[in-house]
């Protein structure tokens, strides 16, 4: 093999994130010392980000099937059938490390990447969500990260032209050194026109489409799987820049050539661009791939094979086109002003062959690089379950009214308007429910169908008890979809954890996946796509385990979707579900009592499903006028949110069995708050009895205040002011 590449030294191998045993494996596999380019290719394909080597055996345990699932995990995105010949294509993916290093571009290219995953499959994106976890607000870096990440997500999505309709923002010191940016994209395709990445046919032309290749993000893939140290700064120059304008052109051009029937297989270039996409196409199609790098459109001069194979320049695609349609496809791409080049072909050899300047720079077995890459069964320890905390043992440091005021103005519970106002959430004219409710609701085409979309996880529960935390994340997504009247169909997950080489972290990952799997099974709510982000730790300090769940549900008639705002004076407020007053790991315990302890609320999956079906039936039967799921902050925070979203207050009494602070702020699961017209209350209670669902009457809507029995009444307007105040004040540097 002729080449002027550097010699392979142990240092070089280590720099490529390959462990000695992995290098041994490479030597055995190819029977010789790899070339520099080959080493780069192995490091890209065998790192955690692309190979899922630490998580794969556990991911396999997730339920991924249902009659409505068209494509589960394994492709660029998951696909489900929603009838009328339509399919929903969706996935969530993380861009954590790049966003920490360059918040704007890191977040922007994260959005760009997940949008490509969706339109690569032939879907037109109709919505995006984003789940963000930042460090302590007081940490010197946090404000800049929030500003940059939010601007980057908006900057890309707004220009591309997709509404960003939902997401989450949380703050915790455990994210000080590693913020999390999880982006989800959802698209609509014709169910019989889905496009996949497996190449087929020998001697087929491989076509490169989109923007030119530069030295962007070289080692981005390896960086994304590397634990941060003090040298994080040096990793900076690898950050790639997003071009939403080119991505919009790429979308239109791809959908156009797909409609014209030009495409056999297609794969976007994401992490480790050309390498990952070419290997995936070949390996999945049981074919070899030969690439001629001299034909790759380059932005910079003198790029080496190594650089071209590892470049993460954005807005690029690889396709196998029907030979006879080549000219037609090329004309379409030229019309959109995008690059188009035949850069290789499929072969019968199952080898990945890379040529550059007349020399063979890489010649590797494609299956072992791709779908047969190494997988690990890493050792893990299951932590012991924490003690449950008895509500009675918590002495309230302040009155219920004072606590409510404090909670609605706290970083985690306050309004996120400052964030979602920077996202265009109305473009395309189909946003039925905008950010701020339980789940976003987006009409499909002109309706009547609509999708409900949500993203959820409670990391502090996951850390205290990974299994219950995993269950709870899925349960909360299920509730949020239910509360707007949707039937939950499927989910995508984005598993963010620390270093899997530490058994306790591996234990968190395994526990959460088991919890997620149990809940998915109990709800017929399969996982159809997802992403794993590991090594989220700095100097040995890991983030909170954060398995973000992106849920998708279906609403048959968008005009009947339910909202959380009180609708009228004098309506009955009912609580659906059982309340013991569970304060362990609650926000009340953390933010009011300053204690982060105890077992998180257990999730009774059967009750979740029963109560969910009951609430959905009430909504479909037109028996409720408002519905809201109960989660962080508990019952009183939820009722305050319903009041603040409306122009009515509420008058409320607590039952005597449970201590008031525990009743109002406990975070017991499987609960909803609904409002019902007085004349329908009896009917609702009867239905509850039949369905064996506990329902308690709490009081009635109306007035200007939220008046809790025996507490100082709180003016709705004042609460709203506190609710809206914190984030803008924080971002302006005032707090």
């Amino acid at each position: 093999m002729i080449s002027n590449e550097p010699p392979i030294t142990p240092e070089l191998i280590a720099q490529h994130g390959l462990k000695p045993d992995e290098y041994e494996r490479i030597l055995k596999l190819i029977g010789r010392v790899p070339s520099f380019t080959e080493l780069g290719i192995f490091s890209a394909m065998w790192n955690e980000h692309c190979s899922y080597k630490s998580s794969k055996i556990h991911l396999r345990t997730l339920p991924t099937k249902a009659p409505w699932v068209i494509q589960g995990p394994g492709e660029n995105a998951g696909v489900i059938d929603i009838g009328d010949g339509l399919a929903v294509v969706f996935k969530m993916e993380s861009h954590n490390h790049p966003s920490y290093i360059e918040p704007y571009q890191g977040a922007a290219t994260g959005v760009g990447g997940i949008l490509r995953d969706v339109f690569t499959m032939g879907a037109r994106p109709i919505a995006c969500l984003n789940a963000l976890s930042f460090g302590n607000p007081k940490h010197p870096r946090t404000r800049r990260l929030v500003a940059g990440v939010v601007a980057g997500i908006g900057g890309y999505g707004n220009s591309f032209g997709v509404p960003t309709v939902g997401g989450e923002v949380r703050f915790d010191r455990r994210y000080d050194g590693n913020c999390l940016v999880n982006a989800m994209a959802v698209g609509i395709a014709e169910a019989d026109r889905i496009f996949y990445s497996a190449a087929s046919g020998v001697g087929m032309p491989i076509v490169y489409l989109g923007s030119k290749t530069g030295r962007d993000g070289i080692h981005g893939a390896t960086m994304a799987s590397a634990e941060f140290g003090a040298d994080a700064e040096e990793k900076r120059p690898t950050v790639q820049v997003g071009d939403p304008f080119s991505e919009k052109l790429l979308l239109e051009a791809c959908l156009e050539i797909m409609a014209k029937g030009c495409v056999i297989a297609i794969q976007d270039m994401g992490a480790a661009g050309l390498t990952c996409s070419a290997v995936e196409m070949g390996a999945k199609g049981d074919l070899g791939i030969t690439l001629d790098l001299d034909r790759v459109p380059c932005r910079e001069t003198g790029m080496s094979a190594y650089e071209m194979m590892l470049s993460e320049s954005q807005e690029r695609m690889l396709m196998v086109l029907k030979p006879e349609k080549g000219k037609e496809a090329e004309a379409i791409f030229r019309k959109w002003g995008l690059d188009f080049a035949v850069v290789g072909e499929t072969t019968p050899t199952k080898r990945f062959l890379v040529r550059h300047g007349g020399a063979v720079m890489a010649d590797l077995p494609i299956k072992e690089l791709g779908d047969e890459a190494p997988v690990y069964d890493r050792p893990f320890v299951e932590q012991s379950k924490p003690q449950a905390i008895a509500a009675a043992s918590i002495v309230p440091p302040m009155s219920v009214a004072d606590a409510l005021e404090k909670l609605v103005g706290s970083p985690d519970l306050c309004s996120k308007r400052w964030v979602f106002q920077q996202y265009d959430h109305v473009i395309l004219g189909n946003t039925v429910q905008r950010p701020g409710g339980d789940a976003a609701v987006v009409r499909v085409n002109e309706g009547p169908k609509a999708l409900a979309l949500t993203s959820d996880v409670t990391p502090r529960y996951c850390e205290a008890d990974p299994f219950e935390g995993g269950k709870q994340a899925v349960a909360e997504a299920y509730r949020n979809l239910t509360a707007v009247g949707a039937t939950p169909l499927a989910l995508t997950d984005n598993l963010n954890f620390g270093n899997p080489e530490r058994p306790e972290i591996m234990g968190q990952l395994v526990g959460c996946i088991r919890g997620i799997a149990a809940a998915c099974r109990a709800f017929d709510f399969p996982v159809v796509s997802g992403n794993v982000s590991l090594y989220n730790e700095t100097n040995g300090r890991a983030i909170l385990p954060t398995p973000t769940i992106g849920g998708v549900g279906l609403i048959e008639d968008f005009t009947k979707s339910m909202t959380l705002a009180f609708k009228a004076e004098g309506e009955a407020i009912l609580l659906v579900g059982e309340t013991q007053g569970w304060l362990g790991q609650s926000l009340y315990l953390r933010d009011i009592c300053g204690r982060e302890e105890g077992a998180p609320p257990p999730v009774d999956l059967a009750a979740e499903r029963r109560h969910g079906n009951f609430v959905r039936a009430l909504i479909h039967g037109g028996l409720v006028t408002a519905a809201h799921d109960l989660s962080d902050g508990g019952l009183l925070v939820a009722l305050a949110e319903m009041a603040m979203a409306s122009s009515f207050g509420a008058v409320l009494q607590a039952p005597s069995e449970v201590p008031p602070h525990a009743f109002w702020f406990g975070e017991d699961q499987a609960r909803y708050a609904v409002t019902v017209r007085p004349d329908l209350v009896a009917e609702v209670l009867r239905a509850a009895g039949v369905a064996c669902v506990p329902v308690h009457r709490l009081g009635a809507t109306g007035g200007e205040v939220i008046a809790v029995d025996g507490e100082r009444p709180l003016r709705r307007g004042d609460l709203l002011a506190r609710f809206e105040a914190w984030l803008p004040a924080y971002m302006s540097g005032a707090v």
Partner: protein, 80 residues
């Protein structure tokens, strides 16, 4: 004192703006344009006459705020 801070993209960093402008110039019939890269200038009025202090302050400002040193370089000129 008048000062100017000029911020330009590091070489190799993608410049979508420059690319689009390049295309527009070509389609407007400007021949012979090989490439366009876009940058920013900040014209800053500074009180007092302490050149050295001003330069130090501006370097600091460029590092902290005016330039994104991850992807940009900057140059400082203080006019007498």
């Amino acid at each position: 004192m008048k000062a100017r801070v000029t911020v330009t993209l590091k070489s190799g960093i993608l410049d979508p703006q420059g690319k689009a402008i390049e295309g527009a110039l070509k389609s407007l019939g400007f021949a012979g344009i090989a490439s366009v890269r876009q940058g920013k200038v900040f014209d800053i009025e500074i009180e007092g006459a302490d050149r050295v202090g001003a330069e130090a302050a501006l370097r600091n400002a460029a590092e902290k705020l005016l330039a994104n040193t991850v992807i940009e370089n900057y140059r400082i000129e203080v006019a007498g």
